[in-house]
């Protein structure tokens, strides 16, 4: 019987380091422009709802901004896009159709967890609280 062609490769792998990444302990390297979590910069958002209309997964819901935040005058209805990341398919349609380029794109991908994750915490940090 012929020596199997794969044998050399197998022996080499026996002495080399594992190729797998121990994910939660070691982060998977991703590109800087990887399509990760995106959220609206409420300093620019005008509450026009176009992203919510265009979203193919209906993951965006226009939500009132809590009264303790200062809202720019360009957003008279005081609403902002709340993204439910459980529904989101990360196609970045919202980022591309936004008329004021209000979306901030990040390459954050490790969002798995036990609680329901939305863009509320991300978006509201872009606003100032009243009086602060």
């Amino acid at each position: 019987m012929k020596r199997p062609r794969l044998l050399g490769l197998v022996l080499k792998n026996l002495v080399s380091k594992p190729a797998t990444i121990q994910y939660p302990r070691v982060k998977t390297p991703v590109e800087l422009d990887f399509r990760g979590v995106q959220y609206a910069d409420l300093g620019k958002c005008t509450g026009c709802s176009l992203c919510a209309i265009e979203c193919p997964a209906d993951a965006i819901k226009m939500t009132p901004i809590p009264p303790e935040y200062e809202v720019p005058k360009t957003n008279p209805r005081r609403i902002y896009p709340l993204i439910n990341y459980g529904k989101c398919v990360f196609c970045y349609r919202c980022v591309k159709v936004c008329p004021t380029n209000a979306y901030i794109a990040t390459n954050k991908y490790d969002i798995a967890g036990v609680s329901r994750l939305t863009s509320e915490a991300f978006s509201l940090t872009t606003l100032r609280r009243v009086g602060s």
Binding site: A19, R35, E54, P56, A57, D58, C91
Partner: protein, 399 residues
């Protein structure tokens, strides 16, 4: 002493269900195999385990939202699905993307072809019991996944094609990185091709199994590497010359053996061709303007008309028929015919005469993609409680 009694067991036909959940199949499909002893005498293909209703969903959503919905017909071939649908829309609108955008589209599709062909060859190695080879191929497949991540921004779901162009451009640094990854990957694929050519395990399990002739392939409407493995010269890239395929040199790969082994070898050769094409694209990328259209300024109204586009997906000819009645924002009819739809349902004849152990091998040699095959209805059924699940609710998790 000696034999005192002889019990004669008459040959009866046993019905053996292979699937929908079965260790040899990775996706839900039921092959009802009728066997006499070890020999398969009849196979019925039962479908409907994974139906999601994409065609109806497309009729109820706008043209632009559909671009992302059709991309989710199948994960492995999402760029070709989007490309085919988008080109149908461009035909309706009479829009032509510039050359740079066309080259980048081809690049995304060819990278996808490489990783898909590596995947099915790895799965085939696993099915014949060669797990080491499976692991090795999957390890090298990471290179092309990385290349796709650099190009499109995501490892699998490209969402790369948009009406009038593509959704992101590449710069010089990205171009070099993708090229280096591909230059490293090429020798690896040649190596695995040799393994498939020479290795005893592979050759003994694949050669002569599931042989189909030229006439059988055409009369059963088999497409893609399955038909090309039987010497049928069909390739939409050659005949339709869509996007930049008219300008990029490549060879049409066919083999004459017609068995499972020939189909896998066609896939390896095509993967090598794809790598050469990708490198050609990266070296000859034209720069005639911005390939990224402004998605805010795309036409919102679609004139009435109908378009039928074909694209050579990894598994064969993929066709989209899009009809617009010019009245609303939604298409009137979207018909998707995926290659697996023909290749799986029409291929029941191929199993006959082979032994039971060959059934998974033949099925894997067709590169079955169940999610491609089943798309059309909206409702799911769990036990006896009935409720409707559409894409929105599926994504939300709560009905």
């Amino acid at each position: 002493m000696g034999v005192t009694k002889i019990v004669e067991i008459s040959v009866v036909t046993a019905e053996i269900p292979v699937g929908p959940q079965h260790p040899a199949l990775h996706e839900p499909l039921l092959l009802k195999v009728y066997a006499e002893g070890e020999e398969v005498v009849k196979v019925e293909v039962n479908t409907g385990y994974n139906h999601r209703g994409i065609e109806r969903l497309c009729e109820r959503n706008t043209f632009y939202r559909d671009i992302f919905i059709v991309g989710r017909v199948c994960g492995i071939c999402n760029a070709v699905h989007t490309n085919c649908y988008v080109r149908a829309l461009e035909q309706l609108l009479d829009l032509h993307p510039n050359r740079r955008a066309q080259y980048l589209r081809v690049l995304a599709m060819e990278l996808e072809r490489v990783h898909s062909h590596m995947l099915i060859n790895a799965v085939m190695a696993e099915i014949v019991g060669f797990e080491t080879l499976f692991m090795q191929i999957m390890l090298d497949r990471e290179k092309v996944m990385k290349a796709k991540e650099i190009l499109t921004g995501s490892r699998v779901m490209a969402d790369y094609v948009m009406v009038g162009g593509v959704r992101r451009d590449i710069d010089e640094e990205k171009r070099q990185r993708i090229r280096e990854l591909l230059l490293k990957l090429g020798p690896r694929i040649e190596y695995y091709r040799k393994v498939f050519e020479e290795d005893e395990t592979i050759v003994k399990r694949l050669v002569g199994v599931g042989r189909i002739s030229y006439g059988e392939a055409t009369s059963h409407s088999l497409v893609g590497p399955v038909a090309r493995g039987s010497g049928v010269k069909i390739d939409s890239r050659v005949s339709d010359k869509y996007d930049a395929y008219g300008e990029i040199p490549f060879n049409l790969v066919t083999r004459s053996e017609g068995d499972s082994w020939a189909r896998m070898m066609v896939r390896w050769d095509e993967a090598l061709e794809s790598i050469e094409m990708s490198i050609y694209i990266l070296e000859h990328l034209p720069s005639d303007g911005d390939p990224v259209p402004d998605e805010r300024r795309l036409p919102r109204r679609f004139p009435p008309g109908e378009a039928y586009t074909r694209v050579e997906a990894q598994r064969g000819e993929l066709t989209y028929y899009v009809m617009s009645d010019g009245k609303g924002q939604n298409p009137y009819r979207v018909k998707i015919r995926t290659p697996s739809f023909n290749n799986i349902i029409n291929s029941a004849f191929m199993y006959i005469g082979h032994s039971l152990a060959d059934v998974p091998v033949i099925l894997a040699s067709l590169d079955p993609c169940i999610s491609c095959m089943e798309r059309v209805t909206v409702i799911d059924l769990e036990k006896n409680t009935r409720y409707r699940l559409d894409l929105k609710q599926l994504a939300g998790g709560k009905p």
